[in-house]
Amino acid sequence: MITRQFGSEVRWMLRRPRTIIGLFGLVLVPIIISFGIWTAGDDESGGGGPGLAAIIQGNGLVVPIFTLFLSLNLLLPLVASIWAADGLAGEAQHGTLRGLLVAPVSRVRLLFVKLFGLTAMSLFAVTLMAVVGIIAGTAFLGSDGMMTLSGTTLGTGEGLLRIALFIVLVTFQMVSIGAVALAVSATTEHPLVVQAATMTTIIVFQVLSQFPSLDWLHPFLITTGFPGLIDVMRDPIPLGQIWDSTLLAGCYLLIGTGLAAMRLITKDN
């Protein structure tokens, strides 16, 4: 029963034209990045630039991680907020939510179906970006194992494992943002409000994290956890920051899901 609801939710999401357009846009990102770095060529100055950008030349397997790492700041939260907005606010706008609320299905279960749809689609989108990143990176930049930030070279198999780990970590961040967006989505009938609220929050968080005088606030911001995920590219992997980021996102997931459930339960049809 529940698996059928999960299935129909995902099918329903995939049928929306904007989902297809969104996925298509996401797929372009790794291709553009690989192409851009390939045309920049290997000039004598070496990679240059901070972080992964410096080691990406000739290191195609880094492209998926680089792409996801960049997209996590704006693009992926935007996509998560769109799906969360469609999930409840969008249905309310079309009047289909009313039918779901009066149906003899528990509202908590309805929320979990929505959350499942969000998770499945996030995982799908992130994996799709990573796979295209691997292909485009290998095609444009070549690959011979994966060079880490620590200067070691991992075999292709281990490199793919790192990419898989990063996919899971990024998806979790995305779902946590989506869960908070779902809570907003449960309060309104206007999907745009959900997207605007979510994106404003993410941008404001990122601005706030630029002020050293607000350093007491930084541990509470979900965006604080993003840069630490780059530790996947260090060898051996230091788990400290990755754990912290994931726990931080987990707290947001709990808060978002809890608030959304409270709102749905008390909602009068």
Binding site: W216, P219, R234, C251, I255, G258, A261, M262
Partner: protein
Amino acid sequence: MNKRKVTLAAAAAGVITGAAGLSLLAMPAGAGQPPTLPDVSPEALVEQVLTSKPGAFGGTVEVDNKLGLPSIAEIPQLADGKHSARIWTDGNGKFRAALPNGQSEQTIVNDGTTTWAWNSADNEVTKSEHKADEPKPADEKAKSVDPAEAAKQIVGLTKEFSEISVDGTARVANRAAYELVLTPKASEKTLIREVRVAVDSELKMPLRVAVLTNGTSEPAGTVGFSEINVGPQDSKLFEFTPPANAKVTTPEAKEQRADRKPELGLEQALQGEDPQIFGTGWDTVVGARIPAQAMTQVPAEAQGLVDKFTKKVSGTWGSGQLFTTKVATILISDDGRVVAGAVPEQVLFDTIGQVK
């Protein structure tokens, strides 16, 4: 109806748990109860620290730096603020250090015959083969973040000039440790109030060093393990193969390149061929003379940087610029004499005349 209340309560509990989790994550980790350890005499502890052979270990080092240094040093871990580094050693001279700098990383590996220094920011490996017993700059850099090495040096240099005591116990990186305190004797003219070294109760290896200066209760600088696992380490950690795409250079070649940073001139002068040492103990002053040629080579941009962090001073010894941090003072006279030490400025004014 009742079921609805239960689910509502469960959802509310979820929100509260999440919020509580956020505050827990934001809180700094507590130090935990200080362990109870058998008494030990300070002299014996110092002796054990100096003779201890740490053996193989791997760990994460947290550096908390409030020294007031501008972040121009080549070691990002020494700039103001909190930093972390990871170090591994096999106990027989091979080691690996990973120094993250933002999203980049420097890795230094000593595999026994060669020291490799990798910097991800410029995709470059510096390879220095060990010829004689001369210390390699990269080795020194890696050791500067090792609390055990730092503490050994401090204790070795200052024990004769300090009151030594054991001030209770502490828990560092989940290991029981004694707090060894070195307080400069009253005759020492220094900025430093005391140095606290947490010494592992089993291995007698320093786990944390904190430097406290006059007039503050918070340490001006702390270097300590936040996590350590003692025992044999994966031997692969002490091997390094330069990545296929990386440039491999030697320190000599790097030095000849034109893009050398001007601020290194001062560092080199102080570490140079013949630094002159004045005094002993805590108020030791190191002096050197920067070649006149190097003084005029400083580009205007770097000069601006120097001016920003220094104060103009003059006296019977001449005139120059004074650079003050919480734990050290550096005086550079206009004719190229440099003196530095963990001392108040007056001591430097008295000493600079002796620089040859």
